[in-house]
Symmetry: D2
Subunit: 427 residues, 4 copies
């Protein structure tokens, strides 16, 4: 199913007056600010959609009745991201996962993606599951494994992923390792680190010059005693030892309770080692809920550090970090969930862009803590949704992506086209 430009225009026309009214109100409120440049940044900002997030997710207790119409092939996954991008103008990239998605014909995929305005974002390897036909199991780890042959298998898989990424025009590899241990004594932590580092070095050596490697960390799950890339400190150690193409990747759900993620982000940017982001939200652990659904203020505070820190380094917001959603959709239509996530991220970004930095710096320099809070909360409390909508309008997308999605009965169309029992690969 494709969404036609005239369908979008019709939808937009029906709420244009209301939108303009809200936008004009904002323009008056923020007349001291260059809103045009803010809107342009919002237009430029793109969040990659992971291919595995297009289907219904599950937990270890099972996966419930699927949504129906889930994509059955890479092509259909690209089509789904194309739908999202048509609706919100902000999902212009897809992140593939090997071996859930194995490209057969790179050129035809590139051309298909291009037809939707999509590029291929970071490639994701998978050594946290065994694949049918694999010679060796990752039950006791992959890059950390005490068995060199198993490490080798995992290294080669990653190198294969890089190759496939090259053929698709991707320029980054995300390495998320489930490696770790479930019980005290299972692992020698030092040797596990050293094995992992050695393995990463071999993969790193296979990276093209213009590629980045993202070393993702996670506090726990699926291992429940230790994780071998367990926190930002460990990830930074690996990335520093690996070299300038290696960076830390932050997934919002991969921390111990109460971690101050925004501070981690600021310090990684300071070190020039923040590589990218996996957005989602959570209350307990790696819950993989819709971005902004539980702690929208935290999401804003993180973007506040991102904007401040990237600007301090002269970085390009849209291009110099990898932005991706990583969520699991257990009780919502995956496409609606993704639309909500992107919307929440764009709002947080807009809020961060409008923070009065000069005033904030002054408040900080005066230790005027109450004032600093007033400044941050003022932009957070402001209703900036019309700015994000305006960016969509300019990008040729829908004023209300989820509204149009429902108006056009997209899910029903997908079910009609693909069937009710399709199950996308993923968690």
């Amino acid at each position: 199913m494709n969404i036609e430009q005239n369908q979008i225009e019709k939808h937009n026309d029906s709420s244009l007056t209301s939108h303009q009214r809200k936008l004009n109100f904002l323009k008056e409120d923020w007349s001291h600010v260059d809103l045009e440049s803010v809107i342009q940044k919002l237009v430029d900002f793109q969040i990659a959609i992971p291919s595995w997030a297009l289907g219904t997710g599950g937990t270890r207790f099972g996966r419930f009745a699927i949504t129906g119409g889930e994509p059955r092939t890479i092509e259909e996954k690209i089509e789904d991201v194309g739908l999202l991008h048509a609706l919100n103008g902000a999902s212009g990239a897809i992140s593939l996962h090997i071996p859930w998605d194995i490209p057969q014909n790179a050129e035809s995929l590139k051309s298909l993606a291009s037809s939707y305005g999509l590029r291929f974002d970071a490639m994701n390897s998978n050594t946290f599951q065994d694949q049918a036909g694999s010679a060796h199991s990752y039950k006791f780890g992959s890059l950390q494994n005490v068995n060199k042959t198993i490490r080798k298998q995992a290294i080669e898989h990653n190198i294969e992923v890089i190759k496939q990424g090259i053929s698709l025009g991707s320029d980054a590899l995300t390495v998320w390792l489930a490696d770790g241990s479930c019980f005290p004594g299972q692992l020698n932590f030092r040797k596990a680190f050293e094995n992992t580092l050695e393995s990463l070095e071999e993969i790193y050596a296979a990276l093209p010059e213009n590629w980045k490697m993202f070393v993702e960390y996670k506090a726990f799950e699926p291992n429940f005693y230790s994780t071998t890339v367990g926190d930002w400190g460990q990830s930074l150690l690996y990335a520093s030892k690996l070299g300038k193409k290696a960076y830390t990747l932050v997934d919002l759900g991969h921390h111990l309770p109460n971690a101050n993620i925004e501070q981690i982000v600021a310090l990684l940017l300071m070190e020039g080692k923040l590589g990218g982001f996996h957005f989602n939200d959570s209350k307990y652990g790696d819950d993989d809920l819709t971005a902004g659904s539980i702690k929208p203020y935290q999401l804003f505070l993180i973007f506040n550090e991102l904007v401040e820190g990237m600007d301090a380094k002269g970085m390009n917001h849209a291009k110099d970090l990898g932005w991706m959603i990583d969520a699991s959709h257990n009780v919502k239509d995956p496409l609606e969930d993704l639309l909500q996530s992107v919307e929440a991220i764009m709002i947080a970004y807009a809020q961060a862009l409008l923070v009065d930095r000069k005033a904030l710096n002054a408040a900080q320099d005066n230790n005027d803590v109450a004032k600093a809070q007033e400044i941050l909360q003022h932009t957070f409390r402001s209703d900036l949704r019309a700015l994000v909508a305006e960016a969509r309008l300019r990008a040729g997308a829908a004023l209300s992506p989820i509204g149009l999605y429902r108006e056009l009965d997209v899910r029903k169309n997908l079910v009609n086209g693909r069937g009710v029992n399709t199950v996308a690969t993923g968690l």
Copy 2:
């Protein structure tokens, strides 16, 4: 595979001298205590094995290479528990789960179980997964569901489980609900509670006079925003409203971080509403690790409250509460993991039995906090493993269950008999 009595005797003979030496040392140390009665209590204490713990577990990221030789039928599950019980003399019950185990012929199962010295412990219903052929999905809850038809389906399933339990000679139903919500707004908490209560009342009405209903609580997972029986306070509310046959069931892994579980146990016993226990261990959440593998001191403190509280109420340790393991075996041989769990539980129980209660009461009455700690740590630091081994010896089981398991190469025998690719039902 059966373990023959002479195999056990041979094993025991080989380490009897060493065992006697250790036991005699303990007898001298604890000459002021009636050790015989302690040993008898250890002999009497039995921990039920859940049928689903006999196979390799997994996480939402997948299940790794199985152990091989996993039980394919209820009969083989009973055989496995029979093996455990032959080895440790303390696993004399099996807890079935419907529909993972559907008894076809109750009489023959009872007779099979009986031949291993096993009885049927609490029955477990399952409304946290959809079953093939079910009319309705539990995606949005079962007993809490806004849809009365779906609640009805879940109620009837529970009543069916009771019926099957009756036919097997069980006398308790454990209700663990995954019901809850993933996002703010998804549920009306009050209505969810009221629906759940009403549903439980219908199930309660179907309980035979001598049965108990265990209402299990859990803080989070698989729902990641709210759970409708989320903590001991909620479980106690349900159990109190239901009536005298309803009790709270405590699973060690089902709490928020840092919860004082031993205090919860003490208060539930005070209220006459503690019904049973699911043993396991965890560091982060419901990690379902081997009992005693992470926090053995906490396990002892819980048993310390159990013994104190049951004695204060004149309860029978072995009979008046339901004792069960509930764990997932992702990286160990499930049978070895269960042997380790039972061992850790028995040690904690032995330690609790030997606490000098008179001295502890006196220390408490004098607010002598340092002394109270000395008293508790003295029994915890004492090596009481020989007492537990002696209880096994008297029960005709092995001095070293895991030792004999490996000597007899039990797993290899099971693989030979059942094949390498068998997968037991479960998580």
Copy 3:
């Protein structure tokens, strides 16, 4: 220092046009809603200020340089709350703490408070500290103490607090107990509960017919192993056993990590046992930060349950629960911090009032989770600050309380009047 009505009017006049513009914008947006009744509810809603929050707080590591001009007497504390109430029209009550505030002349205090439009909210007893001249120490607990004489001292103190409250026109007693233990073995949990219950019963017996007793719970601190009123389940047990005048009081910072407080609120309302609230915010524990400064969305979700649950029971929002701030001001001017807290609470209340309940119920009945989230986030994302400001305007208070506070240089005036080295009693 008093704030004159003409000072407020002058301040309001200067931003009236801007305010009207925003209010009119909101009125258009919410034309389908009876905004007048919402504004009236906001006018009626009053949040009590605890006397101890008027001074600079500290931690166990010390208290830093004070703000200056802190109130030295009850009269000056009343004056400070009067200032807040003049500024925001929403702080029309003061909550006293005995023995930090011992009224010498109740009639004159009542008349003073009345001159500021204030009433006396719940009285707070203190058995978590020893007082100079006390016969017995609460080192090992007060109402739980193994020593009946010490329990008696604590009971009598509470009864004395009730008497003082009667003389001031208060009608509630808040009992927060630090009682608990620091080490395993220190306490017999059951006896501690029973002693505490017996003590509370004696205090309860001294309550006038129209009074309420609030039983506050707290997970940890200052005891670091167990707390004798440790969670809502325990508080509810006490309150249920005590009788219809006893209620649970929820302090937002008194929970284990990740607790779902909004669900607790909903269930306590369902049981008719929610008595009141202590507002603050926190990231790690009982951090006592400004309300809404860390998790404003959670604050909204709590109010969402409060409004839904109170409406379901036909309760009066302003009168049927006790609303109070309980925070500690370590790095902000206490009065500014309180103004920020009240503002955040009023905004959350306004958001909750505007939730489209009919649509939310429909979404819940259809398990339309994405829609339910849209509904909640729509009011949360809406900028309702002008509604709260309008309520203030109608109450004769300031459009921008913290703005006027700074314009009038209130702190400087207080320092001039009271001196720079005054230290208010409190934490």
Copy 4:
């Protein structure tokens, strides 16, 4: 008060037979191990006592009735540590804190300490409190402060502490900073890091060649939003940038919930950047409870990594890391609490020394997770208290330190000598 050698001998004689019996039993059990070398390591191992732990501690809610007889001067503090060391032979160092302890006459203090067999361990600076007469307040941080003058004051204080340490023969400076923020927006995280680093560099420059600087981290408290040296990753960043004399110091209570501290220890040792340890125990946060009182197994696991990691680097257990207790004694006699802490640490160390490393390595190399657990738990379950007692006996200390402490009524003697109302400086 001094404990005479003949008092110790008399005490030891009375339980010597019992001790020998236990020791002999152990010798038989561990006949395959060089127990003599283990005992010698236990004799050599010394844990420093911080001067502030000798008095009754408190919380932000107050400090309860003191124990009486608390040390009033540095000399009396040295005397108290001398008492501990006489009793347990394992507390041969004292760690001073400036300005709670300001040495007036270094030579006489050294000679006094020496007479008790004590040396001066790491010096502790204090920029987390304001001192009477200080020109500037640390309310908004010390080494991180936006104000250079305040940073300078804090730097000079640290340099002064180094000087005092030199005069006493210390060779390390522990820098624990409370620096951080309570609210979003208060701090620019990057600038706070940079200011702190610059300040540390100035202090580092003042370190003698043979000195170490320990950079201690802490997740939260007394700041409740961010901490500027907040976790091991941040501490390692500072230490790496500072140079080879700078190390990370681990305090067991300074982590987020569920952190795997033993892994952190292993990685810091791998990096050659672990400098020292602050022992205590906790359930919720920085509870500062007696070491081993809550999670004794975790303490063992940490020592297991320490022994393995130090041996891998050829380090001297007793000399190459700084070992110190850092606890607060709210409900126990401080000296008894310290005796219990040292005992728990020594037991954990003994357990770690006896781990069968060869077998553990083999189990790890075979991914035999159950076996690895058996190996670790075997030494943990073994009762090694007699080994620790034997080390004491050989050091001329008491078989039962806390037993002799009570036999000699040490506290009563201290009260008689110093009075009942003495309050030691500290928290």
